[in-house]
Subunit: 423 residues, 2 copies
């Protein structure tokens, strides 16, 4: 009955409704239809005549679904229908999502998306096409699922300067690291568990190697700077190398290992990278567990602001897309985006960044090892209760370039683990 | 020079600028002028012609200030000037802020405010006046300083249902509780420290007795429900009674004592109250320290979303007001607010809520005491390492009404502390 109320208006009132099409009726796409149905009442506070799913583009049929009659195969049915004002792209992948989005924008339709790969690769071109056609290309759901950090950056924080972003932007790897930290589970066992729970893909490379987080920080940095960085300019380190010894060492110094994606404004350029970090307990990101995401923005006037929530999942992602549908339909005032590709050198070489490091060295004599560490990096803090056969230190801040030279030059002995600290 | 660039356009270009007036040039009011000057460039991304402070209403003069010539004494100079489109009310207090705001709205000017007392008391009337005059009454800065939780509730989360809000909304008391927890400082010493640091007023009643947090949760509940609750309907408990023993007990069970303001939707009514809580370590609110605020929203589709940041301070509060100026000037699309006073009985009696409780009982024999607790509230968990002469328990969930009857009936013995748990 409620279903009928939400979807059944098509005959009498659809002229005033916001007619949308959903491209891809998988986990996210079907979530959009569910959110529109379940949240029909709150949506009507924003759009009194509601949202109508007029088309679904998918190769499959969905017999038994109340929306079975909306399924079409051909994008031109959608782009050619003047009733459709907003298109939800939930296909994933770059092709044909790029071509379909471009066709929709050029047909004068706003497009909202959860497709981080597409936004991170072609956001500049798509936003420019949207601008040219007087429509919107919105992508809240592409980073942090249902967490409204992009809209906040484009509204409330748009008249402030965003100096720095650090975030846990991948739920799968955060789940794995949480299990390793809290329950001493190995990386492999935690990954298998995440796969069996549906948090991780059968091929988890994009998650564990940081590719997913890399795409997301490229997007957030572009929101902050209007510069879209090439993925090749973003140093990205896998978290598969994190061991139980690392997780335990972090706990011993009141920190937690997290996969952190980072942006910082730096003398008119930017610093942009993804790597595992030892996060200090005083940083809220260290307390974010399980599949949750957190995005910490450091701003000029507002100071630190953090957004926390579910970074993935059908409903949270779909809810963010529906809020973008509403924003597109109401033509809401947000910071205009005019992304261009970042110039060569706009992202500084990773080796130029400075960090404090956790370093674990195979050593029979921690005292002797400590002395050689001191000679190389200055007064490092020696960790207590190190496993037998190891010496562990937290170094002062030094340049990545210098640390690499010290490690590869052999002056620190046999370095088994080297993880950057986040204050 | 930058100052001249920000404020000096008044002669050539002010027809296109957004002309504003600031009512009250104290900590927040002068912060607004500073944010407009310092963030002139980011502001121009939203409002290309910038913001001009045309008037300042204050009883004082500000000789030497570059804005000294903008000071006026009479609100009618401002309401009568057709160039002024937005007024920033940073006076605090209910009168004459209410009268000035009403005059401004009726003169067709949008008003933005940081005045939680005014919004919590007269938000319904002021919003209705704004609506009648086709202007905005915006109040992001009234809760959580620069944290953009209200705009998020009125945009990104507006098409979702907000089921529950729990928040640390007062920085002063959170600073005191943090010092008690981390450094074993007494309440009185921590308060004196907060006063000397400028975090607490010389009369700290509104903070420590929860009145400030009460106003803020009344506002957030109204954003969620369009019902403005009377302060008398909101159970509000002081945090002055929290002792070092409480703080220590919380740490022993992996929790932290926090002053929490809570809203929950409940069968078409609402639950609304402010009191100290033992917050479990799995809840992010337990990790929010010092003067920071955190607001956790539980929504139907997006799940839990938390906003974290500086809940007070000149620049963060002023930055939120400037973002409201931009929203008003651009007439941004946000959830329309039509607040009305909550009907009698809309806020359920506090005694009808159920909680798990931390309870500390003066007792020579914890085992005997545990048995009497079990008889009254069921299988309570006995805390380890209790101070000599005490027995401590975490009870299962029971109704406030029943717990009160047990305590006042004497069946639990001499109860020294009773603090509700937040999962």
């Amino acid at each position: 009955m409620r279903l009928a109320a939400a979807f059944g208006k098509i005959k009498e009132g659809y002229m005033y409704m916001t007619n949308i099409a959903i491209l891809g009726f998988g986990v996210v796409g079907s979530g959009i239809a569910a959110v529109i149905e379940k949240n029909a009442l709150p949506i009507q506070r924003m759009l009194p005549d509601g949202i109508n799913v007029k088309y679904i583009l998918d190769k499959r049929d969905f017999p038994g679904s109340p929306l079975a009659d909306r399924v079409v195969r051909d994008i031109s049915v959608i782009t050619g229908d003047p009733d459709v004002s907003v298109i939800c792209e939930a296909m994933g992948g770059v092709h044909p999502a790029f071509e379909f989005t471009m066709a929709a924008l050029n047909a004068g339709k706003s497009v909202v998306t959860s497709n981080k790969e597409l936004v991170a690769s072609f956001g500049d071109e798509l936003m420019s096409a949207a601008d040219k056609n007087g429509v919107k290309y919105l992508f809240e759901a592409s980073v942090g699922g249902g967490i409204p950090e992009i809209r906040s950056m484009r509204t409330s924080l748009a008249s402030d300067s965003i100096l720095k972003i650090d975030g846990i932007m991948n739920g799968t790897t955060n789940y794995i690291l949480t299990r390793m930290k809290n329950d001493g589970v190995s990386f492999d066992a935690a990954l298998a568990e995440a796969q069996s729970l549906g948090y991780a893909e059968s091929n988890p490379t994009a998650d564990v190697d940081g590719i997913d987080a890399q795409r997301k920080i490229i997007i957030l940095a572009a929101v902050a700077t209007d510069r879209l960085a090439a993925d090749s300019s973003v140093y990205t380190e896998t978290m598969t190398k994190i061991s139980a010894l690392d997780a335990d060492a972090a706990s011993r110094c009141g920190m937690a290992v997290k996969l952190i994606a980072s942006y910082a404004a730096l003398d008119g350029k930017m610093s942009l990278f993804v790597c595992p970090r030892f996060v200090k307990g005083s940083n809220m990101l260290s307390h974010i567990d399980d599949v949750f995401n957190g995005i910490m923005l450091s701003t000029e006037m507002t100071g630190d602001v953090m957004f926390y929530g579910r970074g993935a999942g059908s409903y949270p992602t779909a809810a963010a897309m529906v809020s973008d549908v509403v924003a597109a339909a109401k033509n809401s005032a947000e910071l205009p985006m005019k992304w261009k590709k970042a110039e060569d050198g706009f992202v500084i070489p990773f080796e130029e960044n400075s960090f404090s490091y956790y370093i674990r060295i195979k050593a029979d004599s921690p005292a002797v090892t400590g002395e050689s560490v001191r000679l190389v990096v200055g007064d490092a803090e020696t960790l207590a209760s190190s496993p037998v056969g190891y010496a562990e230190f937290i170094t002062p801040k030094i340049k990545e370039k210098d640390m690499r030279a010290a490690v590869s030059g052999g002056s620190l002995g046999e370095v088994e683990s080297l993880i950057r600290v986040l204050d």
